[in-house]
Subunit: 477 residues, 2 copies
């Protein structure tokens, strides 16, 4: 099996693509830059959706659905928004056999179509807050694409909220950032840093963008979720006002926030190894696989025993059972490792006679023998250990590859000669320094961590002037 996956230290990009395709998560499609999400990849997305959707509903949000197409004139109503998105738009010019009077854009994001509806739905403070989320496909025409990480079409959720005050909009923005942080860390076992983006890196149309950023195994950063405070920008563009408690008319305040199928790419690059996919048990569509090992003379007894094990687990865990006669146990072991199933349960004739089974951890390879009755509780505790083990390993990796740098020479060496990582550096706040750094190293400011200003005593790493921020720089996906 191993030869199907290029080792990370040979070619990291190839390793990643090998895992996506060999674990049958996604495939290339005949449409430029668009992927097909195969059943094992989609099952992962369904798990993510179910958990996130629950978190959104707990925080008071409702789902709705808005049109795929957006009139071209709508996109142009918010100046920064159109500037940011226009290079990536796909345009429908003909429909029903005729040329359209006004072309439609396929949504790259839905602020404009949604705010055109909010104008209709919001009249009074009683209509606020309006807390809506949409699960949808979006299209951004990308020149360079990579399965899950950057594709022209992708699946995501986009929350769009409307509030009576600036404070409420800001609170919502940070609440949803925290939902994303919890989801990433508690479910995906993916440690993230949080903070605000620089003005150069914010969403086109936002006042401020907040993000969760994770470190991949090649030490590059991946933006895994964003939450935007949109201020009154879209309310202004679509003239959305409400009657406040005092009877006056005010512009509405807004947030928007999203995560996408990109999270699957992040998950792969956080935990997987040279044998294939590694998944945290809480998010894995299949948590354990039962594999009977037999010869012809004892086949039926072993199968009965293995099925008993599966049956004892299936109501509590997500379990598969592999009794395919066409493949050897060794082939199956490698295959299920490639597919990332957290625990393999092997049972041969001797295990059966002893009333036991062997549990094998995907993350460490450790083998644990368990008596039949112990298997469910043993599995439960193993899942907990694997989940926290993966998180801790990823966190240690990030910590080990995060350095404080104050000299620009060292900064250049870190990114241009060394292997890179996260560089915590003082920054004067000037976009010119930020641009120069990107030009010199390809590194960008991933976030300005919360409260960073307090640690900003000293000189900007690039220009030496008085710093205003402690920023985290990294090369990124």
């Amino acid at each position: 099996m191993a030869e199907r996956i290029t080792p990370r230290n040979v070619n990291y990009s190839e390793w990643y693509i090998n895992i996506v395709t060999e674990a049958k998560l996604a495939d290339y499609s005949p449409v430029k830059g668009c992927m097909v999400i195969r059943p094992r990849g989609y099952a992962l997305w369904e798990r993510m959706q179910a958990v996130l959707d629950g978190m959104f509903k707990e925080t008071g949000h409702q789902n709705a659905y808005f049109p795929l197409l957006i009139p071209e004139s709508f996109i142009k109503k918010e100046a920064e928004h159109v500037e940011g998105f226009s290079p990536e738009l796909a345009v429908v010019t003909h429909a029903g056999g005729e040329e359209l009077e006004e072309p439609y854009i396929i949504r790259p994001t839905s602020e404009t179509i949604i705010w055109s509806m909010y104008k209709k739905w919001i009249q009074s403070y009683r209509d606020l807050p309006l807390l809506i989320n949409q699960w949808a496909n979006v299209l951004r025409w990308e020149k360079r694409t990579r399965l899950f990480l950057r594709t022209s079409e992708f699946l995501w959720q986009e929350g769009h909220t409307a509030h009576a005050t600036a404070e409420e909009a800001q609170e919502e923005t940070l609440t949803m950032l925290e939902v994303y942080r919890r989801f990433a860390e508690e479910w995906l076992a993916m440690p993230v840093i949080t903070g605000v983006k620089s003005q150069a890196e914010k969403f086109a149309g936002a006042v401020n963008t907040y993000a969760i950023e994770a470190m991949m195994q090649d030490k590059k950063a991946l933006q895994a979720g964003t939450s935007h405070n949109l201020g009154q920008n879209f309310a202004k563009a679509f003239d959305v006002t409400f009657q406040d408690r005092e009877g006056g008319q005010s512009l509405v305040w807004a947030s928007s926030w999203g995560v996408s199928t990109r999270l699957i790419g992040a998950l792969i690059m956080t935990h997987s190894d040279d044998r294939g996919l590694v998944l945290p048990p809480k998010i894995a569509p299949t948590q354990a696989v039962v594999i009977p090992i037999y010869r012809n003379q004892n086949k039926s007894e072993v199968l009965v025993y293995a099925q008993k094990i599966r049956d004892a687990l299936k109501d509590k865990f997500r379990v598969e059972y592999d009794c395919d006669d066409n493949n050897s146990p060794g082939w199956k072991f490698a295959e299920w490792e490639l597919l990332g199933v957290p625990v393999r349960i092997e049972t041969g004739p001797r295990d059966m006679e002893a009333g036991r089974a062997v549990l094998v951890r995907r993350d460490t390879g450790e083998k644990i023998s368990a008596a039949f009755d112990e298997i469910p509780s043993k599995l439960d505790s193993l899942f907990g250990e694997i989940q926290s083990g993966l998180y801790n390993r990823a966190l240690e990796f990030r910590v080990a590859n995060t350095v404080r740098i104050s000299s620009y020479d060292k900064f250049l060496a870190f990114f241009n000669e060394g292997e890179g990582g996260f560089a915590e550096c003082l920054w004067c706040g000037d976009g010119g320094c930020e641009a120069k750094i990107k030009e010199d190293t390809k590194a960008t400011i991933r976030v300005l961590p919360f409260g960073n200003e307090k640690e900003a005593a000293g000189a900007c790493v690039a220009c030496g002037k008085q710093a205003r921020h402690l920023a985290v720089f990294a090369k990124s996906y």
Copy 2:
């Protein structure tokens, strides 16, 4: 409240649209022919999705996701398919600021893009059957649209399966028709007739189309789900062959099947009345609403008691609680009736003192007093009664409006002078007669019920020649 909804006997179409918009299920969008599905409408769709998705998985299907865009040349590969769909296509001609070399079509259905992938995935009989479903948006540019019933963009699921034999493909086609029948009857409380479509009415590219058809309250038919046996048409178009058990190469056999957000329209027109939406409890996003009735002097005690009722129900049922001070009890009663919540639970000071509450059925208006401890079990049995009551009422309505007609004069009178309904008539099987009937009455063959040939002794209702089928004719949505 009543004035917000035009009565059915005044203007049925207006009644329908009033319910959709006043119950906040959907709204018109600025995109021609496209709707916005509002939170209460989307919650209904989420319930439908959850139930159907479970039924698909129980029958061995997996979800996946294929690109929104389809190369124009793909659509043209199956001759009937392109002929059927080309008038409805939306075309992307520009993307990323450039004109595309080959335009893309926004999927009207995904057979062609999916079979281009199946060619890659299917090599051997071991790869079969391939049982995949997709939840997605599709676009068919419609001239005349109506919220939920016919919109240019709609949400649906489309199953696409590949099989080694014609028999298996046919079995799958009928299995999924049965899943749809069960879903319609057991969950939506919507009785349906099942059978095969005539060749004139089948899906573009199918060998045979099977459908579930329901009767709406205006006696017109609504096609609520279809399952197609595609034969080898798409395997031929995309050259999808497999190595069979004997080592030979054979073309793959196929089915496809789908239901859409149209089901929401069907549900509304099956059960609702002049006071608003009526929903079967099994599918209703909110099954009951608790409404406290109080004056200022007893407000806090009544609220505490009402909350106790809500708390006693909330783990077992989907319950809302309406303690909004801005609206009177009377206003709330009408509002929740309009929204279609199956049972309203009223509790005033006297109910509180007696340790009771009043349960009010949305479908019949019947009021049932129940002691606090009895409420959960009473509610449970009421939901069962409402669910079967709605089904039986709809079934009786259909039976009462289904007639056997053997003379063409009576047939013409039934559809052109009378109120119409379902006409069971003998038919010679000739497309000419079918076309003449449509021309004369706008009625079409909805289905040829299973086993209809055995009842076909007699003369065709249109031409008088020897009949081959018993067909169900109706005007339809």
